[in-house]
Symmetry: C2
């Protein structure tokens, strides 16, 4: 085993930063105010902020250090219209799965802010990355997509820390998005994100506030073996 | 559309917290010092910390507010031995995929801290949750697993903020883990985590430090359409 201290490229430091109680409380506040945003102001993001958020997302963990996330910034009005049409078709099909008062409630929900959000980011996983040399994904190849989710979540938290809301739109036919954006065939869509300044700020989820689903106690999700 | 201000349960506040430049710099440091840890001190976590980390993980975003994450705290020495044996078999099979100097390098890597880590958490996705009523996952059912990854990543960052390292072990046969832990059949393993105080702190990934894979520039991962 190589020793850490003898490596010239080592970033080893005997005293790592201490994240104090103030930071920890602010971090908890960040988690509580990090919401899925569907109501955006149309104002553009400040110059350079999107690049900074992408650079922070790049710090996410990845299986075998494969960094398999691929981002597509969608700026073309025609492509955005195609994404909106994709969402509307998928949302209509989803509505048809419900009936009665559930269907009426579903129809009232606002489930995406695609028209208003100033930034659209489609996020893909490269399923055949050279980087990482396959390490860590022999029995669990889906860790490539999971790595991309870590990058999305990193970007989401970093955006909120900068006052920007993110909405993750999953009511889309992902292969049609990939075709529309003409990405390489080995790219698998993981997420489609809207970014912008939120119209409102909340600590409760929109789906809870509008009566779709309450949060439930965490104790029900833990076993000991 | 319901109006936010008329809802009695609304947590709407006109002035959300501002995360200032100091917090944003500390948050970036957290992302940089958040590493995949495989070298643990055997010391136990402070009383109550694991519960706090799980409560913070519960704040993660989830598709349709389904909160599909399920945690299994693995404390039984027999079960832990079974997990170690599972890892060792999967790791030997992975090693056999490489040859020459790559195989020699792979064999020298330390890829898990299962024996030393004081806490083991297996993390599953409930693939048939009632919560969420299916919202948001008709065309992308994998968003259930992705929600669980968001919870894992939340826990990971919260742990690091508290001085605790996390290592995500993916060199495991996941169905064998599920069988060993006797979880419900609808639970799908997403991650197996080791938690504990790290022996060393770094800002560079262990796989980079030991010559397996370098980080690559983020510009190569962005397209505009």
């Amino acid at each position: 085993m190589t020793t850490e201290s003898s490596s010239p490229s080592s970033a080893f430091q005997s005293s790592a930063p201490v994240f104090d109680a103030t930071f920890q409380a602010q971090f908890e506040a960040l988690l509580r105010w990090r919401r899925d945003v569907r109501r955006f102001r149309p104002d553009a993001l400040p110059e350079g902020l999107l690049d900074r958020l992408l650079a922070l997302a790049d710090l996410a963990p990845s299986v075998g250090l494969s960094q398999p996330w691929r981002f597509v910034r969608v700026t073309s009005p025609d492509l955005r219209r195609e994404i909106v049409a994709n969402f509307e078709a998928a949302n209509a099909a989803a509505l048809a799965d419900y009936s009665g008062s559930r269907a009426a409630l579903y129809a009232r929900l606002k489930l995406a802010g695609l028209r208003e959000a100033p930034e659209h980011l489609a996020v893909f996983a490269e399923l055949t990355p050279e980087a990482g040399q396959g390490l860590g994904r022999r029995t669990m190849p889906e860790t490539l997509q999971y790595s991309v989710v870590c990058a999305v979540h990193t970007l989401w938290l970093a955006a909120r820390a900068a006052g920007i809301g993110v909405g993750w739109v999953s009511i889309l036919e992902p292969h049609a998005v990939a075709r529309a954006l003409a990405v390489p065939g080995s790219w698998h869509m993981v997420a489609y994100l809207c970014l912008g300044y939120p119209e409102e700020e909340h600590t409760d989820p929109e789906l809870e506030r509008h009566g779709w689903q309450d949060r439930t106690p965490g104790e029900t999700r833990l076993l000991t073996r």
